[in-house]
């Protein structure tokens, strides 16, 4: 049971990688990348968890010795922002590719036009 949370993170990561490998659609690929990145949220929060600890928000708490790790939580926030920017750029590139080549299948996007 001790490694269940880490196992979930690894599983989500592998599902995303599998989707990215078999993907035939750039938008599907962007979503797979998003799933893969979600594994890092689970991993970060799982690493920072401490048994019988409260959230690191101490409104109305006097005892601050037992809180889960706040550093990994703020890292997860950074992670989410990066994820959003990457997805936005990939979707914009996919739209651009669709405009030029009339397809979002990476296999059909062969050759470059200057």
């Amino acid at each position: 049971m001790h490694f269940l949370a880490y196992g979930v993170a690894v599983w989500i990561f592998c599902v995303g990688i599998y989707g990215a490998i078999v993907s035939r659609n750039l938008i599907h690929l962007a979503l797979c990348l998003s799933v893969t990145q979600s594994a890092t949220y689970v991993l970060l929060l799982a690493i920072g968890y401490r048994n019988h600890a409260t959230a690191p928000i101490f409104k109305g708490f006097e005892n601050r010795t037992k809180g889960v790790d706040p550093v990994v939580q703020s890292l997860a926030l950074t992670d989410i922002v990066v994820s959003v920017t990457v997805i936005a750029l990939i979707l914009a590139l996919a739209l651009d590719a669709h405009k030029d080549a009339d397809t979002v299948d990476p296999d059909e996007l062969v050759g470059m036009h200057g």
Binding site: F3, I57, G67
Partner: protein
């Protein structure tokens, strides 16, 4: 050899290496629930007495790792500029396109107004009390932007364009990003380190706890809300041009 076989040959060694790396990394982790990160426990203990903030995570984001958050905000800013540049010549909706994308149901209109108001209120609340209770500028900004999206979903593109115009959003986004940097530079000018808290820690548990951290928090909320709305506007315009035009042709 077929393309599928080539793909498999390339993927298998990479996946094998990845699996080994994951197994090796997982074997070095502390058992679940027994993490003893000294830095995190230290911050949990000192954030409240030092900064008068009850939400340690937000204190880390805007104070202990404040420079990092500035980089994060500028990443978002750069990505939005990139999306706007990439989509600059993919066509803007004409008045005919806009007229086609409308929602007729009155019930949906009522739901939209109520839903948008509720989401924006939650967003402002999340941002305002970010240093006290769960929340913060990033979360609040995203919730505010989602509230405005409800307007598009329930009232159509015409209503959306009244609220989310480039003229309104671009200055707001720039203001949010530059306010963060300006607050950092203001500390520098006054002789303190970059992003130093100039206004003192404020009073614990109030809207102004954390002093200038709360101003940084609002700057981020503004930047995130405006940046998200610019992104949504760009993609919604593509939707209106492509899909609505197709529907009109039928």
């Amino acid at each position: 050899m077929s393309r599928r076989a080539v793909r498999g040959l390339i993927a298998l060694p990479a996946l094998g290496a990845l699996g080994a790396l994951l197994a090796w990394g997982a074997s070095g982790l502390a058992p679940f629930g027994h993490f003893h990160g000294f830095y995190g426990q230290l911050l949990n203990a000192i954030a409240l007495p030092q900064r008068h903030t009850t939400n340690t995570v937000t204190a880390i984001v805007f104070d202990y790792r404040g420079v990092d958050t500035m980089g994060e905000e500028l990443i978002l800013f750069a990505a939005v500029v990139g999306v706007v540049l990439l989509l600059r010549d993919t066509g803007k909706p004409t008045p005919q396109d806009v007229a086609r994308d409308r929602v007729g149901s009155d019930a949906l209109h009522v739901f939209g107004v109520l839903g948008a108001a509720a989401a924006i209120l939650v967003g402002v609340w999340l941002a305002a009390f970010g240093l006290v209770t769960p929340g913060g500028g990033f979360q609040g900004g995203v919730a505010i932007a989602s509230g405005v999206v409800v307007l598009f979903l329930t009232a159509g593109f015409r209503s959306w364009r009244h609220v989310a115009t480039e003229k309104a959003l671009d200055p707001l986004e720039g203001a949010g990003a530059s306010a963060y940097v300006a607050l950092g530079l203001a500390a520098l000018v006054s002789g303190a380190p970059f992003l130093h808290n100039l206004l003192g820690p404020g009073q614990t548990g109030t809207l102004f706890s954390g002093g200038s951290l709360s101003l940084l928090n609002w700057a981020v909320a503004l930047e995130v809300a405006a940046a998200n709305l610019v992104l949504y506007t760009e993609f919604i315009e593509q939707y209106v041009v492509a899909l609505v035009r197709d529907r009109g042709d039928e």
